[in-house]
């Protein structure tokens, strides 16, 4: 008959309790942000520099978000706004858009694409529904990825003269397009307006999804 030592049981119980809850920790570093003027995809207008940097590479995505977002049909785009003007701006992520464009060679790689026309307008996605797409095998991973998505997200804000704003927009790509974006051309429309303006205006920045 196997005898159970109660002392061992107690030690085991407390040791177990001390490491619970279990799971896989995913601590992702903050994404390094530079002045807007240092990015390849940038535009300057009325003393306001605006830049984007789409996260299309798997390794970069895994390093900063803990998963390959593109393989899950999610595109993260870093937006940097430097306001060198004398007016205050309002940056509104909820009105930003991602637009698929015909590529320079005129190839039709995306469904419904016509020459010179946008193939579709994608609005910024809410993070909670994204998590069902970025399905994680472990709940702990999911919590940590959600945390990282939120912490790095571009927020609605006023950008005062001399100030900067930065953060990520998240777009849900069309279903079935994962892996087919290479070589395609896209445009990010950033909703940025002068404070007090009656209507929201957009600044557009195009980028080629490198093959």
């Amino acid at each position: 008959m196997v005898r159970v030592n109660p002392h061992v049981c107690l030690v085991w119980a407390f040791a177990t309790a001390s490491v619970l809850p279990t799971g896989c920790a995913l601590r992702m570093p903050a994404y390094p942000v530079h002045p807007a003027s240092s990015y390849a995809n940038r535009i300057s207008h009325d003393a306001v520099d605006i830049a984007i940097h789409p996260i299309t590479g798997a390794s970069e995505s895994k390093r900063y978000f803990g998963t390959n977002l593109v393989s899950r049909n999610v595109l993260a785009v870093l937006v940097v706004v430097d306001n060198h003007s004398s007016s205050s701006l309002v940056l509104d992520p909820t009105h930003c858009q991602l637009v698929g464009l015909p590529d320079r060679a005129g190839d039709e790689q995306l469904p419904g694409k016509g020459a010179g026309q946008a193939v579709g307008v994608l609005s910024v996605a809410a993070i909670s529904p994204l998590l069902s797409v970025v399905a994680m095998k472990m709940m702990f991973d999911s919590e940590n990825i959600k945390y990282n998505l939120h912490v790095k997200e571009l927020a609605r804000q006023t950008v005062s003269p001399g100030k900067s704003a930065q953060g990520f927009l998240y777009f849900r790509l069309p279903e079935g397009q994962s892996g087919k974006e290479a070589g395609t051309r896209w445009e990010v429309r950033i909703a940025v307006s002068r404070l007090g303006a009656a209507a929201t205006s957009h600044v557009s920045l195009a980028f080629d999804w490198e093959r």
Binding site: L10, A13, A17, S18, G23, E143, A155, R156, T158, G196
Partner: protein, 206 residues
């Protein structure tokens, strides 16, 4: 045999408790934290502000289904601290709550804060680092709805992840840290805003 019955009984009870503690049930954290009151003394904006809390704000919480369902309500903590913050920033604050925003007479501006997110990062070990982050949007608008200023500010609190015996205390530490950070940053952002300063100057009656 040398094993005294009390130890054997204690071992059985502890094992039973620990086994049962991981079955599907709900854990609601109810941490009591100190409100943030130590704002630096500075001149208040000469504004009478309508501060409104909608039900989404009042019911804000972090909720996650891990080994159990965990719920961390934050709405009431944020409400209490927001009132203190507003009273330290503006000459007069009129507070209302509910789903309907009813107009208030003779106010200069309206502040309707919105909880954007409440998140917790988790660690593999009980003694590992865990963060609680609360993100709140602060839109100050005129009585006609024109935006005066807006910022979305994150407050972060860090403590150990905690185990079955220390989890509640660690969550309290994280929430206290996140609240302190959120309201210190929000105070700094509002009090230094050139947009609100200009608006307040324009509102000064002759």
């Amino acid at each position: 045999m040398g094993m005294k019955p009390p130890i054997r009984r204690i071992a059985v009870v502890v094992l039973a408790l620990l086994s049962g503690s991981h079955m599907g049930c709900t854990v609601v954290f109810k941490p009591r934290i100190k409100p943030v009151t130590d704002y630096p003394a500075s001149e208040r904006f000469d504004l009478r502000v309508h501060l409104h809390f909608d039900n989404d704000f009042l019911n804000a919480e972090w909720r996650s289904k891990l080994d159990r369902t965990y719920i961390l309500p934050v709405g009431q903590v944020l409400k209490e601290n927001t009132q203190l913050l507003a009273q330290s920033l503006f000459r007069e604050v009129v507070v209302t709550e509910g789903d309907q925003v009813r107009p208030v007479d003779s106010v200069d501006a309206t502040l309707i804060p919105r909880v954007v997110s409440v998140d917790r990062s988790l660690s593999v070990f009980a003694f590992g680092q865990a963060d609680t982050v609360i993100s709140v949007e602060w839109p100050l608008a005129t009585t006609t709805g024109a935006l005066v200023w807006v910022a979305t500010i994150q407050g972060k609190g860090t403590a150990m992840n905690g185990n079955n015996f220390t989890l509640h205390n660690q969550v309290r530490k994280q929430l206290q840290g996140a609240t302190n950070d959120l309201f210190a940053k929000t105070y700094a952002a509002i009090s230094s805003s050139p947009e609100i300063r200009a608006f307040a100057s324009d509102r000064i009656r002759p």
